[in-house]
Each structure stands twice: as structure tokens, then as C-alpha cells.
Amino acid sequence: MRNIAYIAINVVKDAARRKIFYVVFLFGLAVVALSPLLPTFEMGARAQFLRDVSLSLTALFGVVLAVILSVGQIPGEIDRRTIYNVLSKPVSRLQYMAGKYLGVIAALAGILAVMGLEVLVLIYVRLGVFTPVVFQGVFAVFLESAVIAAFCLALSTFATVPVNVFATVLFYLVCHVKTGFLHEKLVEGATGFVRVFSWSLYYVIPNLENFNVSLQVGYGGGVPATQMLRITAYALMFIAIFLIIGYLVFRRRDL
């Protein structure tokens, strides 16, 4: 267990010095901060709209950061050969992979917490309203980013970085349209291959729309605790599935 923590801490330290990470992070903060200046916002200035827009942008940057942080963790260490020295120590591949993942989500949690705080301060400064409910939305964004990071890390055990980025973006898009397009295909009674394919995708892949609570947070009413628990369990299930698949590939992979 200690080895997992040491690897995770090392991932966070490594993340903290990456320039691209800061560029995306600062850009995300800037966009969140500038969102009240958007023309559409000016037309209907409401606290809920500000919460909604800020949270949606946070979600987008959360996913981008999840990909940036996780996509190169294992392939990068194999390319730089730093992995040899770690695995020659009494560190198992399971500990290594678990440490990598925990490090990624710890870094994500830190960044998203800062972005959430930014939204909170922004709303307070602009509208004089203190809305800690924003952190429910940020937590949902964190869960979604954690699922994406698990998918990306699992894929990185066998795919190259460009293939992984492409596949993860595709995965993200498909997981967001599944409630719309795929459900329509099923409900509308598609037949044959399209039906089987739609059905498989619909039930096998996660529905990332479950993590979209920006409207509920936007209206200021908050998200019921049962719903938060449900989406947490939902995220944990898919994170476990992806990491197990990734580990099964990684445990016997020649490095």
C-alpha cells in the first residue's frame, strides 16, 4: 500500500512541473473567469446561468486535464525507461498501475478544487451570492474525469499516445450521446446489426450524462444525496472495470 502512495505522490510532483498542464489550467481559469462577459450571458444575467456555464467549462477542462495527465503515464515511462528502475524494486505492476491512477486523480482533484473555488469566488464577487452547492457540481465533474482517466490509463497499457487520445475523445463523445442517439436507435426499433450494436454500446459503455448536474446546480437547489451516491457508485464501477482490464494487459506485457 505504501508503494502505491509513493508512486502516486511522484505522479503529482511530476504533474506539478509540466508546462502544458499549467497552460491548460490557466486557460481554464481564464475562461471560467471571463464567462460572465459572454454576450449570451449579458443578455440574461442570472446566478444559475453563471453556475451552469462555469460548471460546464470546468467539466470540459476536467476531461482535457484527465487525458493530458493519464495518457503518457505508462508509455512515457516505458519510452524514457524510468519504469525499469521502479519495477526492479519490490514494486509490483499492480502497485505501479494503482499508484499511477491514484496520482492522476489526486492531481485532478487538486486542480478541480481550485477551479471550483474560482467559480465560487467569481459568483460571490459578481452577484454577492455564496453558493457552496457549486462543489457538488465540481465533484460530479471529478467523477466523470476520473472515469475518463481510468479509461485512458487502461488504454495506455497497450496503445500508443496518438491512438489513445483519439480513442479517448471518441469514447467521451460516444458516452455523452448514448442517451440521445443510441437510445433513439433502440426505442425507434432499429433492426439487425444496428440494433445489436446500439444495444451493446448502450449497456456496456458508461453514460457520462449521469455526471452532468450543471442544470441542477445552476438552479441552486443542489443535487440530492442519493443521486450523488448513485453517480459515485456508478463511477467507481466503471473505474474498477477499466483498471482491471488495463492491469490484465499490463501484468504480462513485455516492457
Binding site: Y6, N10, R81, Y84, S88, D254, L255
Partner: protein
């Protein structure tokens, strides 16, 4: 401690390469044994399978055939790794760490507490000639400094077995000598050292036994002094004798050469007296009679030539 620190039996490993994913053999039917407490050298030309052999030992790649043990534990497991030190070829470390932080990270994997880690790190940085308190990060280190750091991290856990892939790579002659001294000191402490090296003089100076690999196969192995004396020749060194001396001695043994003022004659043991008689008849002065030992370089080149044909 087990009798054999390392035992590999009939290890085979191939990789798929190129667009057609054609199999390329890296190691084929390789067996070797490293006795506890010795310095063992794994030699071979580039691409001979040395690094793959080390990766198999460390569980970084998985063999397709064969079996083995590492410090008495089955190959591929992690049980022996807390008694193992490893220096990779051209060491790569986390560049954003300083030497002390790097040693702290690697040391933690062995369960060393903070106080013993600090003490051990200081000792090892002194041993390899890197000053503690140096705030340069590892990505600013020269190749030689990285190599020194690599040696330090390989010794953090006071290992029973140290596996070193090209330990002198990137070091100046002084550094190379220091590494040799460290390895000899480790042997005196009862450690086992597995060395893969292209520095044949280094191997010849410090190794007890060697295995030469070529094209993934073990082509020569054994105790180094036995291998170098294996031809059973005696070298007679003579002086004087006139310009035709070498030609006349050639009738006793074809292996005659000149080295400055001296004539060197390599003869089989049974013909030593005959050669000495001939030299006496030629009026030559005897300088020395010694069992002839090949240099490791000669043995290596000869072995590779024979097995590459």
C-alpha cells in the same frame, strides 16, 4: 544465502518486429549460473541478448521458454527484489528530482525509514563521489554523474545481488577505476555481482566467471582464469639469437612473434624442453617461461568469430 544467486535454464525469448510482425530471436536456449559471492560477467556483441537476459531476470520481460531462479526465488516473482540492486544501461531516472530526493523515493520502495534513508543516502553519495546537498535536478546531470547516481541507487538496500548493465558507461578513466574498486569492495562484503559490460579489461580484472553470448545463445562459459588458460600453451620469452632465430624456432612451434628485442614463442606443454634446447642451440638468452594466458579480448574476438561463421 543460496549456493547459486542466479540460475537460468534454457531461457528463450523472441520479439515481433517490423510491419509484418516477424519474430526475431533475442535469446535462445540460454542457461547460466552465477554462484553466490562471485563477480559474474555477461559478455557479447551488440544485439547478442545481454539486455534481454537482464530484463528476464528482473521480470521486465517474460520468457517464452525455460525457467530459473533469482536468490532462491522463482523467476518472474517479486520476492527476491528487496534483496536486489539494479543499475540499468544508460540510467534513466525522474529528471525533476534531486539526487537526494531520487534516493529517498527509491529507498522508500524498500521500506527504509526516513532516518536510515538519510544516513544511507549520504554514505552512498559520498561513495560514488556525488556531494550531498547538491540541488541540481537529475535532468541537469552529465552522463557520468547519472551513472554515479545509478550506482548509488542500486546499493540503497544493501543488496545481496547487484545487477549492473554497463556500469562504467559514460565514466572517465578515474570514474571507471572507482567503479571497479566499488565492485571489488562489494565482493569483499560477500555480495554477488552480475555485470554486463563491453569493457573487456574491466571484466578481465574483476570477474570470477563469464558467459559469452552471441546471437542469443551462450557460446562460452566458465571460470575466467580457466577459460583464458584453456589452450594449455606455455609462453617462452627469449632474447638475442640473430635474424634467423625466429624462422628456426618456427620449426618447433608456428606461434613465434617479435616484441621489441624479445622473441615470444608459444608452445604446447610437451614441447617446452624441445623449444628450450633449440633456443640454447641458437645461443639465445632465456627471459621467462610462463603458462600462456590469452587476454579476454583475444578470447572474446575468437569466440565471436567462430560462432558467427
Amino acid at each position: 544465502m543460496t549456493e547459486n544467486a542466479i540460475s537460468l535454464r534454457n531461457i528463450s525469448k523472441s520479439y515481433r518486429t517490423g510491419l509484418r510482425r516477424k519474430r526475431k530471436t533475442a535469446v535462445e536456449d540460454l542457461s547460466l549460473e552465477v554462484r553466490a559471492g562471485e563477480i559474474f560477467g555477461l559478455l557479447g556483441p551488440n544485439g547478442a541478448g545481454k539486455t534481454t537476459t537482464i530484463k528476464v531476470l528482473l521480470g521486465i520481460v517474460f520468457p517464452e521458454g525455460g525457467s530459473g531462479s533469482l536468490l532462491g526465488e522463482p523467476l518472474g516473482g517479486r520476492a527476491a527484489h528487496d534483496r536486489l540492486g539494479f543499475l540499468p544501461e544508460q540510467p534513466y531516472f525522474y529528471g525533476f528530482l534531486t539526487a537526494e530526493k531520487g534516493l529517498e523515493l527509491y529507498g522508500k520502495f524498500f521500506g527504509l525509514d526516513r532516518a536510515s534513508l538519510r544516513q544511507r543516502s549520504g554514505e552512498l553519495l559520498d561513495l560514488v563521489g556525488l556531494s550531498a546537498g547538491n540541488h541540481l535536478t537529475l535532468d541537469k546531470y552529465s552522463k557520468g554523474m547519472l551513472q554515479r547516481f545509478g550506482i548509488a541507487q542500486a546499493l540503497l538496500n544493501d543488496p545481496e545481488l547487484v545487477v549492473m548493465d554497463e556500469p562504467s558507461s559514460g565514466l572517465d578513466p578515474v570514474g571507471q577505476k572507482e567503479v571497479r574498486d566499488i565492485l571489488v569492495h562489494l565482493k569483499e562484503l560477500g555480495k554477488t555481482i552480475f555485470l554486463s559490460s563491453h569493457q573487456l579489461s574491466e571484466v578481465e580484472n574483476i570477474c570470477d566467471s563469464v558467459t559469452i553470448v552471441n546471437r542469443g545463445r551462450s557460446v562460452k562459459e566458465g571460470n575466467l582464469s580457466d577459460l583464458l588458460a584453456a589452450r594449455g600453451l606455455t609462453r617462452i620469452t627469449l632474447k638475442g639469437g640473430g635474424p634467423d632465430a625466429a624462422e628456426r624456432l618456427g620449426q618447433v612451434s608456428p606461434q613465434v612473434s617479435r616484441q621489441g628485442e624479445e622473441t615470444l614463442l608459444d608452445v604446447e606443454g610437451v614441447r617446452v624442453f624441445q623449444a628450450l634446447e633449440a633456443a640454447k642451440d641458437l645461443g639465445m638468452e632465456l627471459v621467462s617461461v610462463k603458462p600462456y594466458q590469452q587476454s579476454l579480448e583475444e578470447l572474446f574476438l575468437e569466440t565471436i568469430r567462430e560462432t558467427s561463421a
